[in-house]
Symmetry: C2
Subunit: 80 residues, 2 copies
């Protein structure tokens, strides 16, 4: 059994209102020095067997199909 992480973030050119809302609120809470926040998703995928290249390819297909929207998001797959 292995655990694979899939990070999904909006593409840089796509507006991220959630992240922007957080960044704007921080100074009011006394947190200075943050210039931007982007919010994305993180998935931990537990797979049978080893996280070899074939397994990672399968997880990439899963990410493309279900976890990310490739039109507006990018994703990154790595072994935990």
């Amino acid at each position: 059994m292995a655990r694979v992480v899939v990070d999904v973030m909006l593409k840089p050119e796509i507006l991220d209102p959630q992240g922007r809302a957080i960044a704007q609120k921080l100074p009011q809470l006394g947190f200075d020095g943050v210039t931007a926040v982007r919010q994305g998703k993180r998935f931990e995928v537990e797979i049978d067997g080893e996280a070899d290249e074939a397994a990672l390819d399968r997880v990439r297909k899963i990410a493309e199909t279900m976890l990310a929207n490739p039109v507006i998001e990018t994703f990154d797959v790595r072994v935990l």
Copy 2:
């Protein structure tokens, strides 16, 4: 300027219906071999200056205050 990542995941003992829904759907889409999926959040926080220990401490306080709910979630802060 530095970029710091905050990963936020539900604690292992907290039920994750979104992750479970994804895991249950995968076999119907032809993806076998996935035993579990957990869904969390990933934040990219851009800060002024260097990501030294003081800056990371500040980001940890931000994570505790705004990005995670420490009752049901854990978070991890690291430099990108």
